[in-house]
Subunit: 513 residues, 2 copies
Amino acid sequence: MKRGERAARREARRIHRSRSPFFEIPFRQISNAYKPLELLPPEQIETLHNASMRILEEVGLDFLDDEALDLWRQAGAKVDRAKQHVWLDRALVLELVARAPTSFTWLARNAERNLTIGHNSINFSPQGGTVFVANLEFGRRPGRLEDYEKLLKLVHMCNVLHVTGEQMVVPHDVDISARHLRRLQRAITLTDKALMEAAHGRVIPNDSLEMARLVFGDPLPADPVLAGVINVNSPLRYDDRMLGGLITLARAGQITIVTPFILAGAMSPITLASALAQQNAEALAGIALTQLVRPGAPVVYGGFTTNVDMKSGSPSFGTPEGAWAMAVGAQLARRYQLPYRGSGSLNTSKVPDAQAAYETMWTIWPAVLAHTNFVMHAVGWLDSGLTVSYEKFIMDAEVLAMFQHFLGGLNINDDSLALDMIAEVGSGGHHFGTPHTQARFSTEFYQPFLADRLNYETWREAGGLDAARRANLLWQELLVQYEAPSIDPGLTEALDDYVERRRRELKGVELYS
Amino acid sequence: MKRGERAARREARRIHRSRSPFFEIPFRQISNAYKPLELLPPEQIETLHNASMRILEEVGLDFLDDEALDLWRQAGAKVDRAKQHVWLDRALVLELVARAPTSFTWLARNAERNLTIGHNSINFSPQGGTVFVANLEFGRRPGRLEDYEKLLKLVHMCNVLHVTGEQMVVPHDVDISARHLRRLQRAITLTDKALMEAAHGRVIPNDSLEMARLVFGDPLPADPVLAGVINVNSPLRYDDRMLGGLITLARAGQITIVTPFILAGAMSPITLASALAQQNAEALAGIALTQLVRPGAPVVYGGFTTNVDMKSGSPSFGTPEGAWAMAVGAQLARRYQLPYRGSGSLNTSKVPDAQAAYETMWTIWPAVLAHTNFVMHAVGWLDSGLTVSYEKFIMDAEVLAMFQHFLGGLNINDDSLALDMIAEVGSGGHHFGTPHTQARFSTEFYQPFLADRLNYETWREAGGLDAARRANLLWQELLVQYEAPSIDPGLTEALDDYVERRRRELKGVELYS
């Protein structure tokens, strides 16, 4: 190494020693400026489309809810009330789907956190629906309300995450009938990001709407403020729990994320072509129903298709099959000009190891390249979604930060081409000390907050920690540094009152959990 | 879970208990049937092209070799012999580059291992140039010949790897002047895959050619049988070591993989646009020279551009910047209808942990999607390429096997759409036991050999091993099961004789190592 080079490196180290790159990542709406990945040619997308239309027309779906059946009957669909089964003509479905917005704005308590869902926007949400929490401190145990609060604090601090997430972990120490109240109350007060809550039945979403009115005013603004996920009970069935949520949210003009949950080989034929045709039929049926409830209601085309493991019968995540489904799902959603929901950190590993990481990357790479507008479970998953890991949360956040940089930064222009610098340095020199380099020293490249780029000896001297152990140090540090976002004390009080009143009213009531 | 489902799962477990998915992965030429990822629009590729033409014309390059300078002078280029500097007109460069083949066949000792390099073929090579070996048994130590042999055995068994690799690890216990002989002798006898060897100076490649003649006959076949990597000493310099290799291999009609090694911010301006324009100028200059030596010589456009870490001055691998360079490099190579070389398992981690995995995936995803024809370092890297890890080798092999499946399997046709099965199972049923599923039970999905999809309790009972520890068990098992490919005893003897003679002749001779 030349002397000037060594001095430049020393200087670099001096300047940067005190800065923590985690805190320098901005919160911003991410756009994917690159053309979307088109895995299949258009004619194969049309083949899938036609197959799904035949499924809707010839096979039909169960809708296990009287109001949904009434809506379909009034719209002219063929309905068998006894069997709670509906056959949908393609003309009807496509006419309804065309009413859904191509893109919409999702309001947050802090207007700087408002989001666009659609076109080439990309938004990241934390893990949802996990039962256990894991970290290097205590291993694995059932989730508690304190975990929910800690995870919300991390979500708030983590600028690559755009929303609060939905049911991030089950708070087992809270009465089942009050969990939705506690979750949303904490989400409103511990963060100021856009809100999600469970869309199970009619009681839970109605409580969420009431709490949203306390935050956003009554009546609610024209743009939506709340989102819920509607999972299809594949194959080809919407149950009363999900239809209650779908109808309640859509009627209130709030966001439904309609997502068939298909494990090919179990809930659909084993071939991915078939699984995707079925996914498309199921998703479009639910999306059409939202538009029957309220034309123009904001709705997202969701995909959560992967395969079972044929050795164990367990679900597989982070697989080549899941990657196909992620990419082709986006193509299908684009065909109908609908926003698309995919997933991020899916994997089957029990620990935050290399398997957890490479399976996650089999999910997030196709999701990002395919222009997924809303990436659920973008951080934190372990063990097929049974567990949220604090360390995995941090690892995945780094990957998202890398994507934020990747999607934003490659500019080709005279300034970035810097031909004068290439001429000045010439052959065999180095560019450490040029004004062009110096001016961009600390901002040009992605700066990792987790990846260790030290040399082996220095890394050994610093403790020789692997990524999981470094992630452990970081999340603990973040929780120490957390500061709650400002909130009107009147709002806090009104939320407390509402939650307390409803907690008492719902005590012992059996809700769809 | 329903009773029929449970029985189907039991049956699945019974059938598959005895099979090891690692051994079922076929060796085959992989084609990427998907359209290549085009990160930049064509006009920006033209901007990069024009910038690189100006670099060749106005800035020029050092060529530190008399024969190379003579070749350029005879071709009409402007040459400053005292400064060993050459300026290249774009008309000359493009005319020469156009002589290079768009695709070629690379012969292996076993004709079933012959490869196509170019178009949408994709080939994977193991790590090269590492100094240390690491595993969970002994940690890290300098490489030895026994490691080289073990790695060759793993390469031979690993059907997702297509070639033997080049300088997989330094055999420190062999005299420097005999290392190339020992490496190639072992590569020829312990595997039957296509051969690579160091392209340093003229002596080493000439020895490799002599040994190749023992294998393939004298004169050598019309199609190439040997490849070497020509690294550029960026910025803008080809040294005598690399030019000796380039000229020797090209003259013999063998494969040169011409690869600028650029860390943006050090060997080029900090901006990736500039780094890529410089990469393109450097690569095309070397490729043009191969065609001056021998029109039609097989040559590959290589990219190895990433960034320095501005905190430490160390190289960074598995970064968003590296991903840009990988994808745009492929676009540039396509512009000149040249085969493209990228990389696979690049990372900066010191252990086979989550960081190693996610950085690797930041390298291999863009490489595969961009239609990289030859993926160097596709397995085994750790610590910025200083170290080969036996466990990382296995982890990366799983990722390659997943890509082999991903690139081959998504078929959309009547059979795979299986609409009759969707109709037969209907709403709310399951597809475990259908004839369509049963017929594809063991072949439809990718079957992992490393990823663990057991449930938590079963995984715990089985030892609770993470991916690194499971990889450790697998490579040890593979070395036990290794069987050498058949070889004519006369060839073995001829190789032994050649190596022994040259070892004595070269003793004490200083070679470019």
